[in-house]
Amino acid sequence: MAENPIIEVRGLSKHFEARQHLFRKSSTGAGVLKAVDDVSFRIPKGHSLGIAGESGCGKTTTAKMLLKLYEPTSGSFLFNGKDITHLRAKEELKQFRKQAQLMFQNPFEALNPRFTIFRSLLEPLIVHDIGTKEERAAFIKQALEQVNLIPAENFFEKYPHQMSGGQLQRVVLARALIVDPIFLVADEPVSMLDVSVRAGVLNLMKTLTERLQLTTVYISHDLSLISYMCEQTAIMYLGKVVEIGDTMSVLQKPKHPYTQALLAAVPSPDPDEEPEEVLIKNHVPSPINMPNGCHFQDRCPYTEAICREKTPELRQAETGQIVACHMVTPFFDRKAEREEHVI
């Protein structure tokens, strides 16, 4: 690609010290919780990456590193071509904060309950010294209109508890966009919303991010949301990206057994269709002190000796996406073989 990607992470990891009284004490002292382990991806300008995976697989931790709320344990983070992994300087960090914004999961928590909507939207303008008093009011009006809260003036003096979840999430989006960011992370943006308003909020986000050419990361456990919103998809499992590539390839022709299982768990909209066999057994193991080899070994239906010895590396599959599984090679499609067995 000629242009620098807006987001590039290389070997990004975040390890937490597991508290001893909470988790079983290991002989080596406190355990290490690898919330995110050696994750790499790049997102070109204006593109959108979806990150999917079960709860606890490290999606939010990844998001927080992308927003510099967490400092990575290792790896590097390039933003707009510049390495900002260890950026500490106040002014530069503030400049970054103006360019990278977050859409929160819970809109009821994301706005200060003691601020009016106007005050909440004013805050980032004050922090970044944007506009005069009159200009600020105009910007706020514009921002609310942009997210279809019309007439905007009706919402100025409202408090969050006087509004619905869908409206609040639009305000949260307006607040994110009011500083003119170039990068937006949406962490489960609609999972707390009523089903009836989800589509509206998602469509709005899609339209606005496309119009403003934002680079975006959507985090969700809902694969249909990701397939609707994102060109690229990464599947995470226990802190690792196990499959990443074009959304079409990853979700239409999944290669990693875990992705296949996730897709099998999605109920089909067609009631006549036989539900696919659910592959995964057991529960998600604890991410503390993971054994050697593939993190998915205890739940995978194809586990072999090598899976317990070596961590699978990310390799390109013949369908284009990149997969971390010993059993997936361009010449060996495990799923196809399994289907033959079933027949």
Binding site: L69, R97, Q101, L102, N112, E123, P124, H161
Partner: protein, 311 residues
């Protein structure tokens, strides 16, 4: 790029930003008054305080006599008189007008109450805010100091301090200021610990706000009502303490306080003379001020959680 164009159109206005905190504080006070209007209990408490503050301010106009004056009728000391048209609440054993003493007693009560409340709100809130927000070392040090303050028994401390520094009403206030913030600090801290985890704090961080700005602009408004509540409780508590200290004889002899009146009555055996007009009025006034504090506190839930009421 689009970003840069917009930046140029938006000139910097630093003064506006400086005004932020005061604006928020003002808004909160306005909110507190609006709230008082809606809650009958808090309204009652506020009216009681206002009533006493007015009495304290206009005591010289309201009291028919100097509270220290030994009144003589026809050259004879008018002592131990029961209530009459001339002396509404009778006179003391030294011939002083009890009603005038009662009126003048509002002044030290309000002075002690308001300054103690001020200390409690300012010190307790700041300690609680910093400890709860910064956690770690800051929290450790501040909470250790708070523990020490908790380890000191309140009334004996006031008495000892007053015994050392002299029986001035300001020393009583100082003693209370040195200790009474501790409850507020602890409660505010625990409230801050929960508030700081809410995503609007993270949102403020993402929007580039500094820690101090987050602390005072985002977090403080969510705990200020609690500070005001503890301030009003402390006001009642302080008045009660001043009365107790004066009753025990450690009060300011120049200040005619309700506690001093009770002490005087007790020492001159007013009880055995059944001179209830001397004992009951200051008792009721002390009780009213303490009650006022609790009444104001009663509505705290709704100040803290506006959604309970405004809908």
């Amino acid at each position: 790029m689009n970003t840069d164009v917009r930046m140029e159109q938006r000139p910097v206005q630093v003064a506006y930003r400086k005004a932020g905190f005061l604006a928020v504080l003002g808004k909160n006070l306005a909110g507190a008054f609006r709230f008082l209007k809606n809650d009958p209990f808090s309204m009652t408490g506020a009216v009681i305080y206002l009533f006493f503050i007015l009495i304290a301010l206009f005591a010289p106009l309201l009291a028919p006599y100097d509270p220290h004056e030994m009144i003589k009728h026809n050259g004879k000391l008018a002592f131990n008189q029961p209530p009459s048209a001339e002396h509404w609440l009778g006179t003391t054993n030294m011939g002083r007008d009890i009603f005038s003493q009662l009126v003048y007693g509002a002044k030290p009560a309000m002075m002690v109450g308001l300054t103690a409340a001020f200390f409690v709100v300012v010190v307790g809130t700041l300690v609680g805010l910093f400890a709860g927000y910064y956690k770690g070392r800051v929290d450790g040090v501040l909470m250790r100091v708070t523990d020490i303050a908790f380890g000191i028994p309140f009334e004996p401390f006031v008495i000892v301090l007053v015994a050392f520094l002299g029986p001035s009403v300001w020393n009583i206030v100082l003693a209370m200021g040195l200790l009474l913030w501790r409850d507020t600090a602890r409660v505010i801290r625990s409230q801050v610990l929960t508030v700081r985890e809410r995503s609007f704090v993270e949102a403020a961080k993402i929007s580039g706000a500094s820690d101090l700005r987050i602390l005072f602009v985002q977090v403080a408004p969510n705990i200020l009502p609690l500070s005001f509540l503890y301030g009003s409780l402390a006001m009642g508590w302080a008045i009660l303490t001043e009365a107790a200290v004066s009753f025990l004889g450690f009060g300011d002899p120049a200040m005619m306080s309700w506690g001093f009146m009770l002490n005087d009555a007790y020492a001159s055996q007013a009880l055995s003379r059944e001179a209830y007009w001397w004992i009951i009025p200051p008792g009721i006034f002390i009780m009213l001020t303490v009650m006022a504090g609790f009444y104001i506190g009663r509505g705290s839930e709704e100040i803290l959680y506006p959604r309970l009421k405004n809908q």
